[in-house]
């Protein structure tokens, strides 16, 4: 009996998933007009001429969650294999404590880390001190 490899099929779908959009691009390329014009190409900023650049230093707000994510995502990867063998290990006669305790300890450490991050305010969207200061200045002036 033939056996088509799973990954071969997935690879085939990847090819299709690229080819279909490419096909649409081709059709569109054949259909669409091209009337280049300077104003048309201007970056949209509510109809105003944009000033400044978008390549700025981003606010720390966006990074904090990303850092946390890296930590937690690695942990979830470790949880995967445990969940897979969990039942079969129990069925094979391992005691509950033997299977559960290590993972509870692992998740416990994670929770401690989360509590720490929580108390540090890292799981919250960082308020921008600068924006608040300027708003405060304004209120003070009045």
């Amino acid at each position: 009996m033939s056996h088509v490899s799973h990954w071969l099929a997935i690879g085939a779908l990847a090819v299709i998933a690229v080819l279909i959009p490419m096909g649409m691009m081709l059709v569109s390329w054949l259909l669409r007009p091209s009337v280049p014009e300077r104003d048309k190409r201007a970056t949209y900023e509510s109809g105003e001429v944009p000033t400044g650049t978008t390549r700025i230093r981003f606010n720390i707000q966006y990074y904090m969650v990303a850092l946390l994510f890296v930590v937690f995502d690695v942990e979830t990867v470790l949880i995967f294999p445990w969940t897979v063998i969990y039942r079969s290990a129990l069925d094979a006669g391992a005691s509950l404590t033997q299977v559960l305790a290590p993972m509870l300890a692992f998740i416990g450490i994670l929770v401690v880390a989360l509590v720490w991050a929580w108390r540090k305010g890292a799981v919250e969207w960082a308020r921008s001190p600068r924006a608040e200061r300027e708003a405060g200045d304004m209120a003070g002036r009045r």
Binding site: E45, S46, G47, E48, V49, P50, T51, G52, T53, T54, R55, I56, R57, F58, N59, I60, Q61, Y62, W125, A126, R127, S128, R130, A131, E132, E134, A135, G136, M138, A139, R142
Partner: protein, 564 residues
């Protein structure tokens, strides 16, 4: 500047110089309070007193009036040019009692029109004086930011001044139109980002332009830039005759179905000027139709606010539009128009309730009967929604003191706990004969403003209900819809009045000065949205960008009225 404004002012004013002020005791008390600051006393129809002060004494006068006489509401600043002088008029009122009015008249020299800014006293004077500078050309010393406000920075001349050349071409090339902000915001090391929100943006309710500076997701600075919809409404009104030609314009200020409320503002001012008595029957019709407009307008306000917070055309927006549509149907039956009504006339309304009357009453009552269920629906979907509360409670905070300083009126003021409503405090129409309440909320936040509007709809329904009862029982031979008004109105020269009504967005006032012809010499519109919009930066700075949008939505501005 060396010329004495008093002397220049005196040249034409010989007749009024020694005129006794009619308002009596209160005016005398104020005059005593101000003492030497008063150069001369003038007469305005609306105000207890009109004091003329020296341009350098503006702040002192206003501080005295605000702190010692309790005039905490600077409702409007009117600027105008006479043959021999410029003049700024500060129309002051009290939030507690808007019938107590005083005008502070500041004449300035023709050659070098300068006077002291009132901005340190009333924050609202900031924009009003900028407008005066922009359109008339008076300069204000100590003003924090005296730029043009309605016209582009590059505009040449001041359109409402007498020497303005209307034929001068104003086309400016793109190069000359250089963006003055460019230098400031090209800094690549900066942490903040300068972002234009509007004029072409889904959340700015028209062509409003917000120059915002963002620090991440938070708003560090916001500066509203208005004037994209400026149509010289004031000047157009100055060119129309009192009797018929001005009335169509008010419909185009707050054009979102609040037309009749605007028309009433002009009607009230002009009737005051020409001393016209409106028959009771017409007053009842006016009251009823105006409240229908208020419902339509508030429904749209709630719907678009929901749109801003929800972010999509959701059920609430469509439900709001549906209720507004019903109100508009009734208005259409009455006036023949859905938005640009042109229904009021000086001295009354243009025609009676359409025949068959019973059918009209029935349709109006059908609408009112369905309204409680509709408002309940809004409470179910909107105000009791937890995410909605999360978004609106304690965001866009506007403390009452700030609101007063910015001259906020209408639902914005009432959402900040200021108990002010001209329908009750300065009665006109038939309101004082009817049974209804002024709604206030103490929340000072976006949520409070929405609640005020929703509950005001219920009050308006109560008013309409009573008006319908009155109209149904009105004796047939007493249905006088218009007073006897002369074909051509020519009010006495140099009569001045400022009259306001409670429009959907707040105090909509009209200042008219007559010059003895059949058109006004100066027609000034005090738009509630103009003053309310000024509070935006107070509410939004330091908050998230989403709250900026919500706060803007809760102000319920209409750019047609802001820019005029």
């Amino acid at each position: 500047m060396s010329a004495d404004p008093d002397r220049t002012a005196g040249a034409d004013a010989g007749a009024t110089e020694t005129l006794p002020v009619t308002e009596g005791v209160e005016a005398d008390r104020l005059a005593e309070l101000l003492g030497d600051l008063v150069r001369r006393r003038d007469e305005h129809l609306n105000a207890d007193a009109a004091f003329e002060v020296h341009p350098d004494d503006v702040q002192e006068t206003l501080f005295t009036l605000r702190d010692e006489a309790g005039f905490d509401h600077c409702s409007c600043v009117t600027a105008q040019e006479y043959d021999d002088r410029f003049e700024s008029i500060y129309h002051l009122k009290k939030y507690d009692d808007p019938t107590q009015e005083v005008s502070v008249v500041v004449p300035t020299d023709k050659a070098d029109p300068r006077s002291e800014s009132a901005e340190p006293v009333y924050r609202t004077a900031d924009w009003h004086e900028r407008e005066a500078y922009d359109l008339v050309g008076i300069e204000y010393d100590d003003h924090p930011d005296l730029r043009r406000i309605l016209l582009p920075e590059t505009w040449q001349g001041h359109p409402l001044s007498k020497d303005y050349d209307q034929d001068r071409p104003q086309v400016v090339t793109l190069q000359e139109h250089a963006n003055p902000l460019e230098e400031d915001h090209k800094d690549s090391e900066s942490d903040t980002m300068f972002l234009n929100i509007g004029p072409h943006h889904p959340a700015t309710h028209g062509v409003l332009h917000l120059k915002t500076t963002l620090d991440g997701e938070q708003v560090a600075d916001v500066d509203p830039d208005i004037g994209y919809l400026h149509r010289c409404e004031e000047q157009m009104c100055q060119q129309g005759t009192y009797r018929h030609q001005i009335m169509p314009y008010p419909d185009r200020w707050d054009y979102i179905s609040a037309g009749l409320l605007n028309e009433w503002a002009y009607a009230r001012a002009a009737e005051d000027l020409a001393d016209i008595e409106v028959p009771d029957y017409a007053q009842v019709i006016r009251t009823m139709s105006a409240e229908l407009c208020r419902i339509a307008s508030h429904m749209l306000a709630v719907g678009t606010f929901a749109l801003d917070v929800y972010g999509d055309f959701t059920a609430i927006f469509m439900y709001a539009i549906r209720e507004r549509e019903k109100a508009q149907k009734v208005l259409e039956d009455l006036t023949g128009q859905r938005m640009m009504f042109n229904y009021f006339r000086l001295g009354g309304v243009v025609w009676d309730i359409p025949e068959p009357r019973d059918e009209f009453f029935e349709r109006a009552r059908d609408f009112l009967d369905g309204l409680p269920q509709a408002t309940q629906e809004f409470h179910d979907l909107l105000t009791t929604n937890e995410i909605f509360q999360l978004r609106c409670v304690d965001t866009g905070i506007l403390p009452p003191e700030t609101a007063k300083s910015y001259g906020a009126t209408g639902p914005v003021a009432r959402g900040s706990g200021i108990d002010v409503d001209l329908r009750r405090d300065d009665p006109y129409g038939y309101y004082d004969e009817l049974d209804w309440d002024v709604i206030t909320q103490d929340g000072c936040d976006n949520y409070a403003r929405v609640l005020v509007r929703l509950r005001e709809v219920e009050e308006s329904a109560k008013i309409i209900e009573q008006c319908l009862d009155l109209l149904e029982d009105w004796p047939e031979d007493d249905r006088e819809i218009q007073a006897n008004v002369p074909r051509t109105l020519k009010p006495d020269p140099d009569t001045e009045t400022y009259r306001a009504v409670e429009a959907a967005k707040g105090e909509l006032g009209i200042y008219i000065r007559s010059d003895g012809t059949d058109t006004p010499a100066r027609f000034k519109i005090r738009s509630p949205c103009f003053s309310n919009l000024q509070t935006l930066s107070e509410m939004a700075e330091g908050e998230y960008i989403a709250d900026l949008v919500a706060a803007l939505g809760s102000l319920d501005i209409v750019l047609g009225e802001v820019d005029r």
